[in-house]
């Protein structure tokens, strides 16, 4: 038996406002940063294969800089250093949440660029050749043929990145973003009931990641290129021969 676990307190904390808000903040920050990171990463991934050396060098410098810089340091740079260098960043519009969003997006884009590049490279070159032979333009081939096929490859590692990023959002507490883990630590320092308080935080993370995994499997199915009828009739395992 557990020496002390106050179930009532556990439920209370689980329902509490700071936890809900903290969780929503963490999810919001993760989704926004990952979305922005993908938008930045796509041109980066294309740029790596560019014919122009300057473009390739630019992409290299980006990925080198943001992979080498610790995420925590990057958050501090964006939040503390930028406003001291440029007055525009001292305005009230530059909130901690926005600063965290900028830092995490820039950082994540460096990793997403590699993932997207691998996805694009995984598509058989014959696909592009066929598109060209039909007279399609490069961007048409990219949009209609290459990207949809690359997405299938990109989804699983992107799911991983989502989880990593979700956990990284807790770093944003240093620039006073009150996400889930910060809320848990505050509760812990008030109530001193660590099992209930941290247990409740754990439940949130488990639920968020479970939902993500479900959505990911749905998305993977969506990008599996088979006809509906066939998809519905996945062969059932053959029943074992009854020996009786």
């Amino acid at each position: 038996m557990l020496a002390s676990f106050d179930t009532h307190l556990f439920w209370e904390v689980l329902h509490s406002g700071p936890y809900w808000k903290g969780a929503l903040l963490a999810i919001g920050l993760t989704c926004a940063s990952l979305g922005a990171a993908c938008l930045i990463a796509f041109p980066l991934a294309l740029g790596r294969a560019s014919r122009r050396r300057a473009v390739r060098a630019l992409v290299f410098v980006y990925s080198w800089f943001f992979r080498a810089t610790p995420t925590l340091l990057l958050l501090l740079i964006v939040w503390d250093v930028l406003p001291q260098l440029w007055r525009v960043f001292a305005g009230s519009w530059f909130t901690p949440f926005f600063a965290a969003f900028v830092a995490l997006s820039l950082n994540e884009a460096a990793y997403m660029a590699e993932i997207i590049r691998a996805g694009l490279l995984s598509v058989d070159p014959g696909q592009e050749l066929a598109g060209r032979a039909l007279g399609m333009k490069r961007w048409q081939i990219l949009r209609r043929v290459i990207v949809p096929q690359a997405v299938r490859i990109v989804i699983p590692p992107t799911g991983n990145e989502f989880i990593t990023l979700l956990k990284l959002t807790s770093l944003a507490s240093v620039i006073s973003v009150h996400e889930l883990l910060t809320a848990a630590q505050e509760q812990a320092s008030i109530k001193f009931s660590f099992p209930e308080v941290y247990g409740a935080a754990l439940v949130y993370y488990l639920v968020i990641v479970s939902v993500l995994m479900f959505l990911q499997s749905r998305l993977e199915l969506r990008f599996t290129f088979r006809s509906r009828g066939r998809r519905a009739t996945v062969p059932l395992p053959v029943a074992a021969h009854d020996a009786r």
């Binding site: 039909l134 949809p148 290129f225």
Partner: protein
């Protein structure tokens, strides 16, 4: 002016200093079927890609209906490529699209046809290769022979001036070769201008206007099937035929 639909004139092509095509000239008149044979590495596929405007030539030129196309910029080339149908050894169907969408997509993107019209025409051409009932199937759900027939429909639907086939049956299981060759024979009967790289000698004997032998980047012999098989002039051709038979 010549009556050639498709013409190569002194085409040269090198990769990393290795000459793959050496002064290749070729005339394909309207309705002619030319079959190219030769050992691997002799430049057959490269020649076809140059004719399809997929590879720039180092020297010489490619003409379509007497228009010199090989010097055009990439942007201007795209439109002309759609006038030449190309069928690949490994089909290269768009894996993320159903058979129907494979056939209609360039009609929408390149020919700017409304979707409804594109769909109707695509279905008509799928029917022509005997696959109307597979319209909603994805490439990985089709046999190799079916995939290749969809690929032929996809090229044909653009109403090309000529069709190029790069070893269209060599990736197929033996019992699937027939169905693809039948479609191609039908095309030849309908008067389609064709260049076919293939070692299906029976097919060549039946439908070819002439057979070309390539070796080391050169066309070393060209003759009508009868003459080509019964009395090849070139020693290299004789040796090659003995191996293929």
């Amino acid at each position: 002016m010549t009556d050639a639909v498709l013409r190569a004139d002194g085409v040269e092509k090198s990769y990393d200093g290795l000459k793959v095509l050496d002064q290749v000239s070729l005339d394909v008149a309207r309705g002619q079927v030319k079959v190219i044979i030769g050992p691997s590495g002799s430049g057959k596929s490269t020649l076809l890609r140059c004719l399809a405007l997929l590879e720039p030539v180092d020297a010489g030129a490619v003409y379509l209906d007497d228009e010199r196309l090989s010097d055009l910029k990439e942007r201007e080339l795209a439109a002309h490529r759609s006038e030449i149908g190309m069928v690949f050894q490994r089909f290269n169907l768009f894996q993320n699209m159903s058979a129907l969408r494979n056939v209609m997509t360039a009609l929408v993107d390149v020919r700017r046809l409304p979707k409804r019209e594109a769909r109707e025409r695509a279905l008509e051409f799928l029917d022509r290769v005997g696959l109307a009932d597979k319209a909603d199937s994805y490439p990985e759900e089709l046999s190799g022979g079916q995939q290749q027939r969809v690929a032929i429909a996809r090229a044909l639907v653009m109403r090309p001036k000529a069709m190029l086939f790069d070893e269209p049956t060599s990736a197929l299981d033996v019992e699937l070769v027939r169905e693809v060759l039948e479609v191609m024979e039908g095309l030849a009967r309908d008067g389609m201008t064709m260049v076919v790289v293939s070692h299906e000698l029976r097919f060549a004997q039946h439908v070819a206007s002439s057979i070309l032998m390539m070796d080391q980047g050169k066309i070393i012999e060209e003759a009508p099937p009868q003459q080509f098989f019964s009395a090849p002039r070139h020693e290299r051709t004789r040796r090659f035929l003995a191996l293929v038979e």
